[in-house]
Amino acid sequence: MITISQTIKAIKNSSAEDVVKQCLERIEGSKYNTFITVAKKEAIEAARNVNVHLGPLAGVPIAIKDNISTKGIQTTCASRILGGYVPPYDAHVIERLKEAGAVIVGKVNMDEFAMGTSTETSHYGPTLNPWDTKRVPGGSSGGSAATIAAGEVPLALGSDTGGSVRCPASFCGVVGLKPTYGLISRYGLISYANSLEQIGPIASNVEDMTLLFNVIAGHDPRDSTSVPGEKDYTNALVDDVKGLTIGVPKDYFGDGIDQAVEKSVWDGVHRLEDLGASWQEVEMPHTKYALAAYYVIAMSEASSNLARFDGMRYGLRLEKDHDWHTTYSEIRAQGFGEEVKRRILLGTYALSAGYMDKYYLKALKVRTLIKQDFERALKSTDVLIAPTMPTPAFKLGEKISDPLTLYMADVNTVPVNLSGVPSVSLPCGFSNGMPIGLQIMGKHFDEETIIRTAYTFEQNTDFHTKAPEVA
């Protein structure tokens, strides 16, 4: 895997253009189907023009999840319905990356409209896990995590609606952060479930993840849910957890958890204890309802968010037009994949007259209870630690035909999105050669503490130094 400091050194030794060209070569030779669109021309052009002395990420290549709008570069959400759509504007995070000197090398694969846990629902084919190409990279930001694990690019952006940054980070042995809701502008992020999701940074180590996070976090008046204020998160890169109180929610170690995962996470907690932290078990009794509430809310919002894709103004248009009603139906029938249709239909149902009370409004009540679980648990503790995923990466095709089983894999990640708190996933062990992810959750807007905890863990372990053998 590649780090920012290696990249900056390489730029100093040759040029940003050379470094970006090498990166593009690796991408084009990729065996993991990590990219949907490689922005070769734009990337070389940007590298040529970058002032390598200006900006914290000057000349550093970055991969962008294909649901984040990039001016002049096709943005598909891995869906047929957005094939050929070229946004006329940049997302807020893209503006900030460009200001920081980063070079966008292309758009990476994902589950269609971020709906999935394996990157198998992409219209452009699944991304393969670089640790074992028979296995999924996780999802929905599978391309983002896999391209880093494969050593193709040092940095990537993902988005996390119910675990979509943390799950692939866990499955691919890299570091990914789901920031507090409101910390990063969603302007330009194509909505799946807008009350739940945040854009998140992914990198090969905590320091790089933090540097990237530092660049993209900050207020944006174009997103009404964006909070004011800027912080320098690199101040949290401190190797010290003395006095830190860790909460371990036993509800996150439920049925179906892999034994190696359970052991690695507890080892991680004990390692932090050795370094001066203390831990206690905490109760989060509503965790068992989180999955159901999450899917009702996410699908309800999705049914509305995806209504705009009708082929009238951009994206898929079929050969023959009929009356508008038929034309809409045909475009949506052919443009959306199975999983997207399932979620739109279920969400439409959950919001319908006569069912709304039973599903959507009830899910909102559960959401409030989940939030209260976090508030209570974090009253007596500084961070919560749990497995990111209950298992290591599963095999391609293993769960894709059984949506319910696949949804169950999100059990430990969705409560974080329902409550809005921040959470980072980083490698904490291996099981049969596949990485295991440890999840550190914190208080609203207290990214510093989870970064400090993650950094300390990383400095005192060597999991992050392991990389898959890239063919």
Binding site: N67, I68, S69, T75, C77, L82, Y85, P87, P88, Y89, A91, R186, Y187, G188, L189, I190, S191, N194, S195, P221, R222, D223, S224, T225, S300, E301, S303, S304, L306, A307, R308, F309, D310, M312, R313, Y314, W324, H325, Y328, T348, L351, S352, A353, M356, Y360
Partner: protein, 480 residues
């Protein structure tokens, strides 16, 4: 129209008409749209020139509330006697239509910006109070242009998103309106109030669009959409009353349905019945945070201008004008301002007569606004009239000439020689006419009183209309 109204009169008394209105008011005096920075001055520009990712609903774009639009809405709410909610929130109304680029409309549902107000109008039997249920904010959709005219005849339809995202305030009344005429009066009064608040330019097309709910004798109601004028509202409602009444008389049943008003043909046609009604799946718009508007209201209340009803009362008490004149003078803010400027300089009662009874009529006849006649010119004219320098007939001529050709009253009077003729001249003319028309004089003396009119006409002709007709009549009768 008047005949139709007369024919309908018995129906109205007999059948228990209940009408409720929903008025979409375009807050077109704002500089920008409700959720983005696109300017509103698109009326003279080509289609899709005033758009951005937000009002085009491009993937990834997010709405940001225009705070001025919220202020305007609160202003209207307060002027309608509404209470302003503690918090206001936006919702999504989900439905598909080509003019709606996001596949949902951002509107309000629970927690609308204003609720429970009223407007007093002149009803069928004296003043009545029409209650306002609520006023809520929403975005206007784009505009469909059917190539080739009507939707039936066109081969394809074009979409212009310039209008997409213009702030609307939807004002919903209770079903307190009892007749089409009351509906029209309500709309006129509402327009009047909005004009005073300076939040809407009601002369722009589509600035006030009306949907009407109507039922007879407690039966099912029909909702009539696509009403674009106040006169159209009256006609659509008249048609609906006749239609529903005839349906009932033939033993039929009024079904709950949505009907479309075809303005050209003056009829309503069924769009969809209750069974086909949309389920809009309203749910909160998470991209916009709830606004604590209760804090805004007191400051905005202080900026409210004097409203039509209050101003009318003040005109009566301060200037001593009649109720009818006060009503006429306050029905438009600009006219009321004009009147007060004139009344400050001359006799307020005489000014009221000449503005309300003469000037407004001449302006209406020409479809001019009050701007076409400067207030100083009215001051000059009323002074001429008060000083008995010109006749009333000449006064009217002065107004007409200024409106059609320009100039000041003094200039027109001089150019046309309208100054009242001197007494000697009039006396001489009277003498001459009497001596030259012995036949007419004889007729009069024999009891044919109309003969005096002929003699008067002759005198007026001789003096080119500059003589006072009443005076002339008196003089003739004295002499013969």
């Amino acid at each position: 129209m008047r005949e139709e109204s007369l024919k309908l009169r018995p129906y109205l008394d007999e059948v228990g008409v209940m009408i409720g209105l929903e008025i979409h008011v375009q807050l077109n005096k704002l500089n920008t749209k409700i959720f983005c920075g696109c300017p509103l001055d698109y009326h003279d520009d080509g289609p899709n020139t005033h758009t951005c990712p937000v009002c085009l609903g491009l993937p990834g774009s997010l709405p940001v509330i225009n705070r001025k639009a919220v202020e305007y809405s609160i202003k209207v709410g307060l002027a309608l006697g509404c209470s302003i909610e503690e918090h206001t929130q936006f919702y999504r109304k989900n439905y598909y239509y080509p003019d709606l680029p996001k596949g949902f409309q951002i509107t309000q549902y629970d927690y609308p910006i204003a609720s429970s107000g009223y407007i007093n109008i002149e009803g069928e039997d004296g003043e009545v109070r029409i209650r306002i249920n609520r006023a809520h904010m929403e975005e206007d959709p784009g505009r469909l242009v059917h190539e080739g005219g009507s939707i039936e005849r066109s081969k394809h339809t074009l979409i212009d998103y310039n209008r997409s995202g213009v702030a609307l305030l939807e004002i919903v009344t209770e079903p307190d309106i009892r007749s089409p005429k009351e509906a029209r009066r309500f709309l006129d009064k509402l327009r009047n109030i909005l004009g005073y608040l300076d939040v809407v330019d009601t002369t722009l097309e589509g600035s006030m669009r009306v949907d009407a709910n109507i039922s007879l004798a407690g039966g099912s109601r029909s909702e009539v959409k696509n009403i674009s004028s106040h006169k159209g509202a009256e006609r659509a409602l008249l048609f609906e009353i006749v239609r529903q009444k005839n349906l009932l008389r033939r033993g039929g049943k009024v079904v709950q349905e949505t009907r479309h008003f075809d303005e050209a043909r003056g009829v309503t046609v069924s769009l969809r019945t209750k069974e086909e009604a949309h389920d809009y799946r309203y749910f909160p718009e998470a991209d916009l945070v709830p606004l604590k508007v209760a804090d805004w209201a007191p400051g905005i209340a202080e900026t409210l201008p004097e409203l039509p009803d209050a101003r009318r009362q003040r005109f009566i008490s301060r200037y001593g004008v009649t109720d009818d004149h006060a009503k006429s003078l306050t029905s438009e803010k600009q006219v009321a301002d004009f009147y007060e400027q004139v009344a400050a300089e001359v006799d307020p009662k005489l000014a009221a007569v000449w503005i309300a009874d003469v000037l407004k009529g001449e302006l209406n006849y020409r479809s001019f606004s009050i701007d076409a006649y400067a207030s100083e010119k009215m001051v000059q004219l009323v002074k001429l009239l008060a000083g008995d320098k010109i006749t009333e007939q000449s006064g009217v001529e002065v107004i007409r000439t200024i409106l059609d050709e320009g100039g000041t009253p003094d200039e027109v009077v001089a150019a046309k020689g309208l100054l009242k003729a001197g007494d000697d001249l009039v006396t001489a003319a009277v003498e001459e006419v009497i001596s030259k028309n012995p036949g007419a004089v004889e007729d009069y003396q024999n009891g044919k009183h109309e003969a005096v009119n002929f003699l008067m006409g002759q005198v007026m002709k001789k003096t080119k209309g500059r003589a006072d007709a009443k005076e002339v009549r008196k003089m003739i009768i004295q002499r013969v």
